[in-house]
């Protein structure tokens, strides 16, 4: 039983440590050299496309998949050879995996029962988690009598009833419709934070990762690409993959020409247009990629400050200016997504709908601007 194996000491160290973890089925490694640490009370998201190894990693932490190399330590204790039922970990499965032959309350009591708790405590815990997910009226229902959202709450409650050191969530929102998903994100985070639960979630949904996480581990091809807070990941992506996977990014190839002003570096695009970048770590003559978020770009209204000759537009201090050709507009409600062609490359511009330039028709030439600080320069 979990309690006897793992005395619940409040360890001051990290809840979970992954040290150069590798996982392989057969010869092919699906995950290699993954290291990170999860602190108590943290909500960490493993974000990546399908096949990035995030689910395998989650299953390895839960104990369903053996680790072929490296170490997983839970509260300082190595987990190698420890079966899932002896790990102080509870899992919320993607399909919820509720026991269909048990009522909601019986599902909730399953975990506390295996812990060997006294009957009164089992019942108390089941009622407590039932209250926490606001399903008091549904305790005697069977899972198939509940809606998808209610089933998800039961799955979360069942895991919380274990009072685990670590909660694992496998694509927790993927079976909910868009509206419910947005609502459940907030509810789940509020609940987990109020109970100080340490949790790792797996998702391929960047919005979910940004909205819920304290930190995000971006994974691709079985390895970690970047670890950071949602703000760090979004604003300072380490490579074009992260930039493109977490939000949208325009990528412009350019070469660094060195510092022109304090903190301001000059780049030349492949077609020879100068651009200014603030806070750049590249040296002169480094080939780089400039990442610009679509919402950082503006289309100044009217002809004001619009030069006649496209090639002659120079960056004006912190303000980068280019001339492109308006291609198309997609109205998204709150925003308008505008595509502008720039020397054969397509640039995505996302404007608040109220700032949309309705005077533009496809084929018009248009001046586009962005701030030098809104650009992220990375080595190619």
């Amino acid at each position: 039983m979990k309690n006897s194996v793992l005395p619940s000491v409040s360890t001051p160290g990290p809840v979970l440590e992954l040290d150069r973890v590798a996982i392989g089925y057969g010869r092919e490694p699906v995950v290699s050299d993954v290291s990170f640490v999860v602190a108590a009370g943290e909500f960490v998201t493993l974000l990546g496309p399908s096949g990035s190894g995030k689910t395998s990693l989650l299953r390895a932490i839960a104990g369903f998949v053996p680790v072929t190399n490296g170490d997983i330590r839970l509260q300082g204790r190595p987990m190698a050879g420890v079966p899932p039922y002896e790990r102080d970990i509870a899992v919320v499965f993607q399909n919820y995996a509720l026991f269909p032959h048990m009522t909601v309350v019986q599902n909730l009591a399953f975990g506390p029962r295996t812990l060997g708790l006294p009957k009164a405590e089992i019942a108390r815990r089941a009622q407590q988690v039932l209250r926490q997910v606001r399903l008091e009226a549904f305790g005697d229902r069977y899972p198939h009598e509940l809606s998808g959202g209610q089933q998800q709450r039961v799955a979360i409650a069942r895991a919380l009833a274990m009072q685990p050191a670590l909660l694992l969530l496998d694509e927790p929102m993927s079976n909910l419709d868009a509206r419910l998903r947005a609502q459940m994100r907030i509810e789940l985070i509020d609940l987990l934070k109020s109970l100080s639960v340490t949790a790792i979630s797996v998702t391929h949904d960047q919005d979910e990762a940004l909205a819920m996480s304290d930190r995000i581990v971006v994974m691709a091809e079985g390895g970690v690409r970047q670890i950071g807070t949602p703000g760090e990941i979004y604003q300072r992506p380490i490579d074009p993959f992260v930039a493109g996977f977490v939000g949208d990014a325009n990528v412009i190839r350019a070469t660094c020409r060195g510092e022109v002003h304090e903190g301001l570096a000059r780049f030349d695009t492949e077609w020879g247009h100068p651009l200014h970048v603030r806070g750049c770590t590249l040296r002169a003559d480094d080939a780089g990629l400039l990442l610009v978020r679509p919402e950082a770009i503006t289309l100044p209204a009217g002809a004001s400050g619009m030069p006649a000759d496209a090639q002659a537009v120079e960056p004006n201090g912190d303000l980068n200016q280019l001339l492109g050709v308006f291609k198309s507009r997609a109205y998204m409600g709150a925003t308008s997504e505008i595509r502008v062609t720039l020397h054969g490359e397509e640039l995505l511009v996302r404007l608040p709908a109220s700032h949309d330039r309705h005077d533009l028709v496809p084929g018009d030439s248009v001046c586009i601007q962005w701030d030098a600080a809104a650009v992220r320069a990375i080595r190619r």
Binding site: A97, F99, R158
Partner: protein
């Protein structure tokens, strides 16, 4: 449906228009009929079956008469009283119950691991091979399979020859494996095993393995997981397979006839003898009714147990 769409427009399929002017009118008339008419063929079939069963029940209430002749004697339950007091018929009923039970248990014991293996093996080739091994005898004529089994079980058959060859049995002795209840039980098990395996495999396939992982992540070890999650969820499938086996074995005719000969009489054999040779159709009909009631009660009991397991 817009009937005017038919008629003589150019798009009308050749089958419906053509030179025959009656066809569109027929289509229109059929379309005007109530959809209830579509149930007519099914009702006809049920009606014929119903008449047959009713006729059988009427026969069972008379006291004598043979196939193709008039039913004679007063209407009453005298034939039922007769078969339920005659040790010959009671013996056949007892043998039927006994042999069905033995072959049901044996086929479940043999079928469970095979069905589990078929569903859980990670190798597609192993799965295909196992399914073929079960399906080939399943699709072979039962008579052929029973003759094959006679060759194996006979007094000079494969089993006895192997036992002689290994010196386990003396040359002048043999294991009696034919024309007794043992051979019929083996034959019935062999007969129902494919049904049991396929029914069980269907139930196992529907079982969601993440439920076992969920149980383990909730602190249940393999034993607790098996008894509290796996077994309760597989039970309806096992029950269905067991019911099927019991009913199939209980109504077997060829297996006891070929493997049991005159030594083993199951209910179907007695019914056949009474109807075809003894010319006593009321007894045959009453035995059939008893067998039918028995089968129906098995199915109802299984249905009730199954509902409880699912509740």
């Amino acid at each position: 449906m817009n009937t005017s769409a038919f008629g003589r427009s150019k798009e009308t399929p050749a089958l419906l228009s053509g030179s025959d002017r009656g066809a569109p009118a027929l289509v229109q008339r059929v379309q005007r009929l109530s959809p209830l008419w579509l149930a007519l063929p099914a009702c006809l079939v049920l009606f014929i079956f119903g008449i047959g069963l009713l006729d059988l029940l009427l026969w069972s209430l008379r006291s004598s008469g043979s196939l193709g002749a008039e039913a004679l004697g007063p209407v009453g339950l005298q034939t039922y009283a007769r078969i339920l007091s005659d040790p010959l018929y009671l013996g056949a009923l007892g043998a039927t119950l006994r042999l069905s039970a033995v072959s049901t248990i044996a086929s479940l014991v043999l079928g469970l691991p095979i069905a589990y293996w078929i569903v859980r093996t990670p190798s597609a080739r192993v799965r295909a091979t196992l399914i073929m091994l079960v399906a080939v005898p399943f699709m072979t004529s039962l008579i052929v399979r029973l003759y094959a089994l006679m060759l194996v079980l006979g007094n000079t058959g494969l089993v006895n020859r192997v036992l002689h060859g290994l010196g386990i049995l003396p040359e002048n002795d043999f294991l009696p494996l034919i024309r007794n209840e043992t051979s019929v039980a083996i034959g019935l098990t062999y007969f129902v095993l494919p049904f049991v395996i396929f029914t069980l495999a269907g139930g196992f396939r529907r079982f969601d393995r993440t439920l076992e992982e969920a149980a383990q992540s909730l602190g249940a070890d393999e034993v607790i997981t098996f008894f509290r999650v796996t077994l309760p969820l597989l039970a309806p499938g096992v029950l269905a397979a067991g019911t099927l086996a019991f009913v199939l074995a209980g109504t077997a005719f060829a297996t006891p006839l070929l493997l049991g000969g005159s030594a083993v009489r199951m209910i179907a054999n007695v019914i056949y003898d009474q109807a075809m040779f003894a010319q006593n159709l009321p007894v045959a009909a009453a035995l059939s009714a008893v067998a039918l009631v028995f089968t129906l009660s098995c199915l109802m009991l299984a249905g009730r147990l199954g509902r409880r397991a699912h509740a």
